[in-house]
């Protein structure tokens, strides 16, 4: 930006600030004629200056505003608060107009056209605004096309005589776009024959610019009459973007005394051909790619996939045994083979898994749109946040999840999030928030939909349930039990039926669908604070990264995803603690001694290991005897008799054939914490 524009902008900002101050004064005394005069004068100055410095948009805009104040000045229009509001928003907009970068912003355009319409409304309250007055800045901005030119410039020998410095001209030339300039020195005579007052050098240049050829001519305007000058267009593409062309031409310029237009044109044509080919290749590749897509996938029955998964997990187990065997028996040459088998089976496992698992991302994307459309329909301002889109789930689970999730989100939007006015009255931000979160919890994937809306009023549900004869009036129910009532068939709590939800298909369908994929739904709600619906989905057959630990010589696996840190702690610190709190790294962390919880006697070891795991937003320590190491556990479901022990999400077979239980840390902590509360009582 040149300094004149800068100066203008500085000046204009001052004027606009002045305008703002005057307008605020005017708001206090709307009939003060001197203030009105002042507003008019400032606008007039602004208008005049902006037209001089090419700010046409400001010129036109202030022209209309000025008209308004001209009418007010002549008592043809009354200065109403409405007029002042429009003027003040215009002042804000004028500030934005000073920055030309804003002009491409669609919001800016909307504001601009909106304000022009309002101002016109003030001037001609009866006449609808003319379409013509709308400004569409981007309309005529056609795509800039880059052309490449060849420039030959040989100044007359005595060009220095009239004060010309040809290097300045070349500088100007290169400033027009991308340029490659070759200086030729072959006409420079031997040192003793040189006349330092003469110019022996001539130049060739390839310039790629979006400017017109005239602008190149303009560069040489002072010297064209006494120089050899040739300017030719060689291509309608940016040749300098073609590395091969640049390389070829540079090579030529180095060996040849000059390249010449004909050679440049030949190379340019080759480059154009390459350009077109690569362009058509892209198109072709896209087509092929499309075709590929249709043939690259095959449908396989899920039975076969299940079979494959089973075999892979057996293979991983067997491989672990092989590794162990190789460690214990040092057979020469066995170690590398074992390592290879380990590598291969890991790869095979990853591929087998990627076949059946897909990220939940696609599903989330679909909801983003749903929330946007619904919130517009319902005229609610809602922010939709997704988290954990990379969480992978079985494809069939994801497919079956779509409908229930959609229903829950609709409910949140329709019944949960309140209208902005109500939200503001309750001291919430006017914008509602719906959060969709997916994460792993032990061997499960949890999907949580939470909103910060009205929440579910348990009293209303209770009354309704009584009314519908689902429960009797005398029955006492805990909060959770009442909330669970919404999953019963034919239970719709919305006071009025809207298009979006409450069509009679209720949460019972959601629950049914989720249990079909062996999932569980839970609801938690706080009146006035919001509702959280948690869906827990199992990953019955999967492999997880875990930490192998031992308690009383039995092995257990703690999912690695849940683990934060591991500390070695003296036994005395654990057994003398009264409140099950331990200070680690300066932080107090509640802990459970797994030995104690499993009703085992204290261990003989002096040091015990505290595995700190994440539990909801907190850290909780779990005390074990030994940490053995990382372990990739093939998760197997527990047998019928152990189904009730849900603190374990499954079992895995170790390399030596023994079985290790896989802990569900969340469940374990909840479970033990419950017992403790009871114990305290």
């Amino acid at each position: 930006m040149d300094s004149f524009k800068k100066k203008f902008i500085e000046e204009a900002s001052e004027l606009i600030d002045k305008l703002e101050v005057t307008l605020l004064e005017l708001e206090k005394n709307p009939d003060d004629p001197t203030q009105i005069q002042q507003v008019f004068r400032v606008m007039h100055t602004l208008k005049g200056n902006s037209s001089m410095f090419g700010f046409d948009l400001i010129d036109k805009f202030t022209h209309n505003l000025e008209t308004v104040y001209d009418l007010i000045r002549n008592n043809q229009l009354k200065l109403t608060p409405q007029v002042l509001n429009v003027t003040l928003s215009s002042v804000d907009h004028l500030k934005a107009m000073l920055d030309e970068e804003n002009y491409d912003d669609p919001d800016f355009l909307t504001t601009h056209n909106g304000l022009i319409a309002k101002i016109n409304q003030l001037i001609n309250p009866d006449k609808p605004m003319e379409e013509k007055q709308r400004v569409q800045i981007n309309e005529n901005k056609s795509e800039e096309v880059i052309h490449s030119y060849y420039v030959f410039f040989e100044p007359r020998k005595d060009i220095f005589k009239n004060g010309t410095n040809p290097l300045y001209l070349l500088d100007e030339l290169t400033s027009l776009g991308k340029a490659k300039v070759f200086a030729h020195f072959n006409r420079v005579p031997l040192y003793d024959q040189i006349n330092p007052e003469q110019c022996y050098v001539y130049w060739e240049a390839i310039i790629a610019t979006e400017n017109e050829v005239n602008s190149i001519n303009d560069v040489f305007i002072f010297v064209e009459s006494d120089s050899k000058l040739e300017i030719q267009k060689v291509a309608d593409i940016n040749l300098l973007a073609d590395e091969k062309f640049v390389e070829e031409i540079t090579q030529l310029a180095n060996v040849q005394k000059d390249i010449g237009f004909v050679t440049v044109q030949r190379l340019a044509n080759q480059s154009i051909a390459r350009h077109n080919k690569s362009k058509s290749e892209v198109v072709k590749r896209e087509r092929i790619g499309y075709k590929d897509k249709s043939t690259a996938s095959i449908r396989v029955s899920s039975d076969k996939l299940d079979g494959l998964m089973n075999l892979v997990s057996e293979l991983v187990t067997t491989q672990a045994r092989l590794s162990l065997f190789a460690e214990e028996n040092s057979v020469p040459g066995l170690a590398p083979i074992v390592e290879n088998v380990q590598k291969l089976s890991r790869q095979l496992r990853d591929i087998a898994f990627s076949i059946v698992l897909i990220p939940i991302e696609n599903l989330f994307g679909r909801f983003q749109r749903l929330v946007r459309d619904l919130s517009q329909e319902l005229k609610k301002d809602v922010e939709f946040i997704t988290e954990g889109a990379e969480t992978e789930l079985d494809k069939t689970i994801i497919e079956n999840l779509s409908d229930p999730l959609m229903h829950i989100i609709r409910n949140s939007l329709d019944h949960g999030i309140e209208e902005s006015a109500i939200r503001l009255a309750q001291g919430k931000s006017s914008k509602g928030k719906i959060q969709l979160k997916a994460f792993y919890s032990g061997a499960n994937v949890i999907i949580q939909i939470s909103d910060d809306g009205a929440g579910i009023d348990t009293e209303i549900i209770r009354e309704k349930a009584i009314q519908k004869g689902i429960i009797t009036a005398e029955r006492k129910l805990s909060k959770k039990e009442i909330l669970d009532l919404i999953f019963l068939p034919g239970f719709s709590t919305a006071k009025k039926v809207t298009d979006v939800s409450g069509r009679g298909v209720g949460m019972d369908v959601v629950k049914k669908k989720i249990s079909e994929i062996r999932g569980e739904v839970e609801v938690d709600s706080e009146v006035g604070e919001g509702t959280t619906i948690t869906i827990k989905l199992p990953l019955t057959l999967s492999i997880i990264d875990g930490l192998l630990v031992s308690i009383n010589k039995s092995a257990y696996v703690i999912p690695l995803a849940a683990i934060d840190k591991i500390y070695a702690v003296e036994k005395s610190k654990i057994y003398t603690s009264f409140n099950n709190l331990i200070t680690l790294d300066g932080k107090q962390i509640p802990f459970f001694s797994l030995r104690k919880e499993f009703n085992l006697s204290a261990s003989d070891e002096e040091l015990e290991q505290v595995v700190v795991v994440n539990f909801e937003d907190n850290s909780v320590g779990m005390v074990v005897d030994f940490v053995i190491g990382e372990y990739q556990a093939v998760l197997k479901p527990l047998g019928k008799h152990y189904k009730t022990h849900d603190i374990f999400s499954g079992a895995t077979i170790l390399g030596d054939g023994t079985v290790a239980l896989v802990m569900d840390t969340n469940k374990i902590i909840k479970d033990f914490a419950k017992i403790q509360v009871i114990n305290v009582k």
Partner: protein, 121 residues
């Protein structure tokens, strides 16, 4: 160091506009009211550019250009002259006399700066 530009014109308004613009750009400006007046500045001090009108009393622009080119101290300095679109013959005459380039009147400040940038940096 700021470059020094000598402006030669008999019209005060043109001198004002040009010198204001140039001073704004950070140049040091010397002012001559006609060719003869301008010659007094060629006293050995450093001048980086001369901008001169062609029609002036006492000594016109072409005469001034010739004089400058004759002066061994100043024979290489760039000289721009002010002219109008129609004066093609005059333009060639000035060019032959040794002018570096020209500025077409009327001009906006940006044009003036662009022309100056062609001959000095």
């Amino acid at each position: 160091m700021a470059k020094t530009i000598l402006i030669v014109d008999d019209s005060e308004s043109i001198r004002e506009v040009v010198s204001f613009t140039l001073e704004n750009e950070g140049y040091k400006v010397l002012i001559g009211v006609d060719g003869k007046d301008a010659l007094k500045f060629l006293n050995g001090q450093v001048i980086d550019l001369i901008i001169t009108d062609l029609h002036m009393p006492e000594m016109d622009g072409i005469e001034l250009i010739k004089n400058v080119r004759k002066n061994t101290n100043y024979e290489r300095i760039p000289i721009l002259f002010l002219t109008t679109e129609s004066q093609t013959a005059k333009k060639m005459e000035a060019k032959d006399a040794g002018a570096t380039g020209w500025i077409i009147k009327p001009f906006v400040p940006a044009k003036l700066i662009a022309a100056i940038n062609k001959v000095i940096r």
